[in-house]
Symmetry: C2
Subunit: 195 residues, 2 copies
């Protein structure tokens, strides 16, 4: 298995984190973003979106962190990280959708703007990000994990840019339940910090 | 089964379209957006994001169109619309992710801005939307469907706001393969037009 990513990609990190939690071996291929490798062949043949992560496994190529998480969880994670039951799968999927919406276009983007690696509109991103944090906190006030009462790929999808929200000047102080959840994720066996 | 939606929600329509293609009976509950019903109890207990669609089935409540599509496809669609094989599931998931990113924050939002139902930054949305259309068209130049060589919930997730892109002043003329795919979707038995 090959994981195409960059050293600092939070989306690549989601996939690396799941593989680490599963203790599944893989090879990391660093894509040279500063030199535009992601915008050229052969990389764009792997991913026409010119983004990391990309996963290559047994001849199959998958782009998008969510697709990689779904694939790995179902292929190597048994029933733990994404169960086959339709209702449980739907419950996990809700949080993957939140990660792709409020967290990415809110928290990831505001952090990128503050760090100068992205242009955009800070206030709108911050509003969307805080909306996402409110939904997460509401859920986590009464539950240790986002879905199913145990860690799933829903948690992994939401975790990295939620934990890094303060780097985008979005404080987690108003979201104590989110803070407790971050600590629980970081205490999972196999957890490692990005970068 | 109850589907909470509005008359014009493209995301609610995705769920209704899958149910129609599957010929699965359900009850529609129209949420009164003009009067803010989606922002108050009891609706926010169903969906803390204050959005449609929401699905209620056999005592389970799911928000987010993607989660609803995954649930319905796995529970009532056999292996057709979202197969259980991890690689195939990952392939479908790629296009759901595109729908949640380039299509929603690009094509859905620019259409909303043009129609005056959303504020935002047209040019950035248009750029993102066209990026998504380019990825779709590249795929569809050599394939009739986005994943697996047959219609899946990946197609359903991408279809509504792609087909409506011209209402956001984004022409589909440069994307002939996308236009052909739209026609194929609209010819599926059980297809119906939104609104």
């Amino acid at each position: 298995m090959k994981l195409y990513t960059t050293k600092n990609s939070g989306n690549g990190y989601k996939v690396a984190l799941l593989l680490s939690l599963l203790k599944h071996p893989y090879e990391t291929v660093i894509v040279d973003f500063p030199n535009g490798e992601h915008k050229r062949k052969p990389f764009i043949d792997l991913n026409p979106r010119s983004q990391v992560p990309v996963l290559e496994d047994e001849g199959r190529v998958l782009w998008d962190s969510s697709a990689c998480l779904v694939y790995i969880a179902r292929k190597y994670g048994g029933e733990a990280w994404l169960p086959s039951d339709p209702g449980k799968m739907g419950e996990v999927m809700q949080w993957i959708a939140l990660a792709l919406n409020e967290i990415q276009f809110g928290l990831q983007y505001t952090r990128g703007i503050v760090r100068g690696i992205r242009t955009g509109h800070y206030d709108e991103g911050a509003e969307l990000g805080r909306k996402g944090l409110g939904v997460l906190d509401g859920r986590l006030q009464r539950n240790d994990w986002l879905a199913l009462g145990r860690p799933t790929i829903g948690d992994i999808a939401c975790y990295p840019y939620t934990a890094r929200a303060p780097e985008g000047n979005i404080s987690l102080d108003p979201y104590p339940a989110v803070q407790g959840w971050i600590k629980r994720i970081e205490a999972l066996p196999g957890y490692f910090k990005v970068g």
